[in-house]
């Protein structure tokens, strides 16, 4: 039944698409007009500040006075003479390594559960599980978290765990993507496997996961990039200080502190660029490994 419904609308389209429509001559101008607001934003709010920050990373800019060129000093200091910087890298890596898998496993588990509901209140539960993510970046939520885990947050050995949990709890976005992915998997594969006597685990391992691997990969890349940039939760939970005893000194938090409370904006810019390059490298590595475990349906 489901299959039949999906097939039906297809033929209607192809008629209109037969010949390429003739474009009005100034359609390019119109395209730019519509692109305008986005272009303005992209150039004015993203590209230009990035170029400026790259320049500033080679200066001693202090927010107030005109920057002086210092060459690679900031970068040299980062790696040679700033133990706290290395601490912040370690904290961030720990956070990424714990929070990303935890979040993805949770998201997948709940997506599987919801997928098996099919119609029986699925919409309701989907929204309910998604809700925390909607509030995700909100300060209020992090404050509530702070209040709930009062003593944990104030103890160096547990503070990071509470932030990992807070992040894992906000698994809504990957969950919804997983759910969409799950619903794309052709049912006949499962039916065939069931006829052959495959159990639930077998089907999960041999059908669901391989068929879902592109979605899994997408979520992994997205969440990893996200996790490296985590800021709000750590800022609020630790009262903006990365404490106690630097146990939640995230990379971005340290960057913020250097830039905005110590006025070393040149240094902070250098940190930002190192982070950007690091994320790019890690993403590239993930893409490289993907050829070994990501299965696209059209492959043999």
């Amino acid at each position: 039944m489901v299959l039949a419904e999906r097939v039906s609308p297809a033929p209607v389209k192809s008629v209109a698409e037969g010949a390429p429509p003739r474009r009005p001559k100034n359609s390019q101008g119109v395209a730019y007009l519509f692109l305008g607001p986005w272009l303005l934003g992209a150039i004015g709010l993203t590209v230009a500040p990035m170029v400026v920050s790259l320049y500033l990373s080679f200066t001693d800019y202090d927010l107030f006075n005109s920057p002086q060129w210092v060459g690679f000093d900031n970068y040299a200091k980062l790696f040679g003479d700033d133990p706290r910087y290395l601490d912040s890298v370690v904290v961030t890596l720990k956070y990424v390594v714990w929070s990303v898998p935890l979040k993805l496993v949770l998201a997948l588990a709940v997506a599987l559960l919801l997928n098996s509901l099919r119609g029986k209140g699925q919409a309701f539960f989907r929204s309910a599980f998604y809700a925390p993510s909607l509030l995700g970046a909100s300060v209020g939520l992090a404050l509530a978290w702070r209040a709930i885990f009062d003593t944990w947050v104030d103890t160096p050995d547990y503070a990071l765990i509470t932030i990992v949990l807070l992040s894992a709890w906000q698994f809504g976005a990957p969950m919804v993507i997983f759910l969409a992915g799950l619903q794309q998997i052709p049912r006949d594969l499962f039916d065939a496997a069931a006829v052959d006597g495959a159990g639930w685990w077998r089907r999960l391992w041999s059908i669901t996961l391989p068929m879902l691997s592109p979605v899994l990969f997408f979520n992994l890349v997205l969440e990893t990039i996200h996790a490296f940039q985590a800021f709000t939760q750590a800022f609020v939970v630790s009262g903006g200080r990365g404490g106690p005893a630097d146990s939640t000194l995230f990379y971005t938090l340290y960057l913020y502190e250097r830039g905005f409370t110590e006025f070393r904006m040149g240094y902070a810019s250098a940190m930002a660029w190192v982070l950007l390059v690091a994320i790019a490298v890690i993403t590239a590595v993930l893409f490289r490994t993907s050829r070994y475990w990501v299965f696209y349906g059209d492959e043999r």
Binding site: G29, Y32, G36, L40, T151, P156, G239, G243, F260, T261
Partner: protein, 422 residues
């Protein structure tokens, strides 16, 4: 090409729109922005005073906002860097050099004694807003370090409250007794080892100071080591708060161990008493620091806050007018009371003292009781002190949580502090 024209058009339109927005009312109405740090009770009186100012100066509109101390300077630096500096800025002694040294504060010298009246001022106190011959700020009020304590707990444990002449050993013994009398549920004293203000007071008791005249650290490693050891003795003697509570300081009275009823005594400034009194109305009292020196209490007449104008303000006169009003207007003085500490204008201070109640009364009486012992304020701390303040907190935390030994933390503190002062 056509596309360029379109992009240009859109860009132009955006500029025109934003240009219009920035201008605002052009009918002689001046709008200035005034920001400060504090809490709700301070906001209430400050806004009341600002309203009065507006009603007397119909051409000037003042928009106000406030933050807690922790976030205030981050917000301020961002706003200034973004070219959106507030016109009138509440300033902290600790950050004076940080900002004035970067030329973001208006030199008020031309106005002092004229538009900003100073006839009823202690001339030494005016000087606390001066740096390198420029009057970069005016002190708003005077405060001093103090111990805020819970007299009931002191009574219940049968110990004497803070008083002139008590020593740090007395304090430790007293705190341990209180802590024991509550079955360890309430600490005798809040851990003070990470707080630079306490360290400074303690240093002064030993004839030293936080910063030497050349802006370098004014104490030796041994001094800080002894201070951290003192704090450790309190911990070892079951006289102070557990580690989890060291991170809650500096957040606002309601979040400190004292505000949460987890401590019987806490280091503070008398001007913060209003905040404590809001959280625990009528329950707390102020007393002097302990000191091992018979002569020196270590506390001094500190400008609790200062007020500056932005060097980029477009409405200098209005900003100066507001500053003078906050400092010297008798009605404003009445409204503001001792919320920021003792008013800098001595006539207003006297007038406020005539009619005291609640928190104001406690603050005034405390300052009176220690007045003879108060020293003059040292020069404003150098650039980098804001960083060192946090550094001390952090390194002390690492000691408290057993992550580092005192010696390790000390070495790291020293390296980073010297770096911050460069």
């Amino acid at each position: 090409m056509k596309a360029h024209k379109v992009v240009g058009l859109v860009l132009g339109a955006a500029l025109v729109v934003s240009g219009c927005g920035a201008k605002g009312g052009g009918d002689g109405q001046q709008e200035i922005r005034f920001i400060w740090w504090g809490n709700d009770d301070r906001a209430k009186v400050t806004n009341e005073a600002v309203k009065l100012f507006e009603s007397r100066n119909t051409g000037i509109k003042v928009s106000t906002s406030f933050q807690n101390f922790q976030n205030y300077f981050e917000k301020l630096s961002t706003e200034i860097a973004g070219g959106n500096a507030p016109d009138v800025i509440q300033m902290d002694y600790r950050y004076l050099n940080e900002y004035a040294g970067r030329n973001v504060l208006l030199d008020l010298s031309p106005y002092v004694g004229k538009e900003i009246r100073t006839a009823d001022w202690n001339s030494g106190f005016i000087g606390s807003g001066k740096l390198g011959g420029k009057q970069v700020a005016m002190p708003l009020a005077q405060n001093a370090t103090a111990i805020v304590y819970d007299p009931k707990l002191f009574d219940a444990a049968g110990v004497k409250p803070p008083r002139i002449g008590w020593s740090w050993a007395d304090y430790k013994e007293t705190s341990a007794k209180i802590q024991a009398s509550t079955g360890g549920k309430i600490a005798g004293a809040t851990d003070f080892g990470g707080t630079e203000d306490v360290f400074e007071t303690w240093l002064r008791q030993r004839g030293k100071k936080l910063y030497a005249d050349d802006g370098k650290l004014g104490y030796s490693k041994d001094d800080l080591k002894a201070f951290w050891q003192l704090s450790k003795d309190f911990r070892d003697g079951n006289a102070t708060t557990p580690p989890e509570l060291v991170t809650t300081l500096n957040a606002g009275a309601e979040q400190t161990p004292m505000g949460k009823k987890l401590s019987a005594s806490e280091h503070t400034y008398d001007s913060l008493y209003g905040g404590y009194n809001t959280v625990r109305p009528g329950e707390l009292a102020l007393g002097p620091y302990p000191s091992d020196s018979k002569e020196v209490l270590g506390s001094y007449r500190k400008p609790s806050q200062l007020v500056s104008a932005s060097s980029r303000t477009k409405h200098k006169d209005a900003a100066v007018k507001l500053i003078d009003f906050l400092l010297n207007d008798p009605d404003a003085g009445k409204i503001l009371g001792a919320n920021r500490g003792l008013p800098a204008n001595l006539k207003i201070r006297e007038a406020v003292a005539q009619n005291l109640s609640g928190a104001n009364k406690v603050i005034f009486e405390y300052q009176k009781s220690v007045d003879a012992q108060l020293g003059d304020a040292p020069a404003a701390p150098p650039k980098g002190d804001g960083t060192i303040y946090k550094l001390m907190q952090r390194k002390h935390e690492e000691v408290v949580f057993g992550k580092k030994t005192i010696d390790q933390a000390l070495e790291e503190f020293w390296r980073d502090a010297e770096e911050a002062l460069k």
